[in-house]
């Protein structure tokens, strides 16, 4: 399994600061990232190539896939930030690039 990059490592460190939650981010010997906080143990690693996910997020022994870093952040914050209530989202169909 490939190592989680430094940029993602920094993103998680910065995210804890931005969310103003206590916690730590450390790199495991196999290259995964381990997050501790709110009495949760969280592990972030790259998903195996045959899966449709980019990331695997394990929280207190339960592993779920995440298709993007945005999904990783959501799962991490839900676990580590007791006061977090994600903003409700709605999807609007709109051109992502202009029609030619």
């Amino acid at each position: 399994m490939s190592e989680v990059g430094e940029l993602v490592h920094e993103l998680l460190v910065q995210s804890l600061a931005a969310w103003r939650v206590a916690g730590s981010v450390a790199r495991a010997s196999d290259g995964a990232l381990e997050i501790g906080g709110n009495r949760k143990d969280i592990r972030i690693e790259r998903a195996p190539p045959h899966l449709m996910f980019r990331w695997m997020v394990t929280i207190d022994g339960r592993t779920r896939g995440a298709i993007s870093l945005v999904a990783v952040l959501r799962q991490v914050r839900e676990a580590i930030d007791p006061g977090y209530a994600a903003n409700r989202l709605r999807i609007a169909v709109a051109p992502l690039v202009p029609s030619q």
Binding site: L7, E10, R20, R88, I91, A94, P95
Partner: protein
């Protein structure tokens, strides 16, 4: 009153309430063709001037800080310089000046300057004060932000914006507006389109018609009282990128901001060089929980083709925003670039 005095109107309103959009519409109207514009942005990278179609020589941007805080003198000097240019025929003729304040500006010192500064006395006269109010977030903003209350209270006209998102004006919001300023008619703008003959038609500013609170604020300013202008946690910063940004990266980035920042994202606006659309930049806007679908300019407004996104936030670290965009860009680097995505999806955050 000096017959040649030029009316200076003030367009104010909290962050993201639609000031620039409305001004852009007004400047396209024939009756606004002889208008000089002064824009004040709170941030290190100005963008509003890129979004307006005003003639270069009758347009001035004040970018050194918030108009109400640091550059009161600069405002008077800027006006004096503008008038000098007009007198000497060094700019397009104009018979009206509009000042668009930053969304965080306390209007009181601005009005005070316009009414009292000796360097411009006799040459200009305070015209009307128009305040835009976002119908989606306006009630909550009025509840929380003292500056927003001031902006509403001093208005000659209040213009409600974003009713397309909020639906018909909510009675609670209208009651709040009436509580702060019962005398100002409330107009409605539809995507910036507003009756141009009504919006700046209220004539010269008359303190007698304003509420007692407004008189008190203006009186305070006249006596040089010091106030904490802005929440110390509010920061403005910009992200500038030389390399184009993939459309999918921008979408994920906005999604993350909407999810994690909420009401602390006071304002986001930017012009973005999208990899899949090199000749037509995207203009993005976000206010608190509401992120709009990008608007596509027909062309780049200048030779500067860098992506520039300005953030006005409360307690959102700049480094987090930077790393978020970089990490998402890296994540999607292996996604094939598709140059024609006719109906892809964009995330919008619902109002609270």
């Amino acid at each position: 009153m000096n017959n040649e005095a030029i009316p200076v109107s003030v367009l104010t309103g909290f962050l993201g309430s639609g000031k620039t959009t409305m001004l852009r519409h007004l400047l396209r109207q024939p009756e606004f063709s002889r208008t000089a514009v002064i824009i004040n942005e709170f941030g290190e990278v100005g963008l509003d001037h890129e979004l307006l179609e005003a003639s270069e020589d009758s347009f001035i941007e004040l970018q050194t800080g918030c108009l109400c805080c640091k550059i009161r003198t600069d405002l008077a000097q800027t006006l004096a310089e503008l008038l000098r240019r007009r007198d000497e025929g060094r700019c397009a003729p104009f018979d009206r000046i509009v000042i668009e304040t930053s969304g965080l500006a306390d209007p009181a010192p601005i009005l005070q300057t316009l009414m009292t500064d000796t360097t411009i006395a006799g040459r200009i006269v305070l015209g009307s004060v128009v305040t835009t109010v976002d119908a989606v977030t306006g009630a909550a903003t009025l509840e929380r932000e003292g500056i927003s209350q001031k902006q509403v209270a001093v208005a000659d006209r209040i213009v409600l914006t974003k009713l397309d998102l909020a639906g018909p004006a909510k009675p609670a919001l209208l009651r709040r507006l009436e509580a702060f300023n019962a005398g100002a008619p409330v107009l409605v703008a539809d995507h910036g389109r507003v009756d141009s003959l009504l919006v700046f038609s209220s004539g010269f500013y008359d303190l007698q018609t304003k509420s007692a609170d407004v008189n008190a604020w203006l009186a305070d300013e006249a006596h040089g009282h010091s106030h904490t202008r802005h929440d110390a946690d509010i920061k403005a910063y910009a992200i500038v990128r030389q390399e184009p940004i993939r459309a999918v990266a921008l979408t994920l980035f906005l999604e993350a901001l909407a999810e994690h920042c909420g009401a602390d994202m006071l304002r986001l606006k930017g012009i973005v060089n999208i990899l899949e659309s090199p000749n037509r930049p995207a203009v993005i806007h976000g206010v608190q929980h509401v992120f709009h679908a990008p608007a596509w300019l027909d062309r780049w407004p200048s030779d500067d083709r860098r992506s520039r996104i300005v953030f006005i936030t409360r307690r959102i670290p700049q480094r987090w925003v930077e790393v978020l965009l970089e990490a998402i860009g890296e994540e999607v680097a292996d996604v094939p670039v598709i140059m024609d995505l006719p109906a892809a999806r964009l995330i919008r955050a619902a109002p609270p």
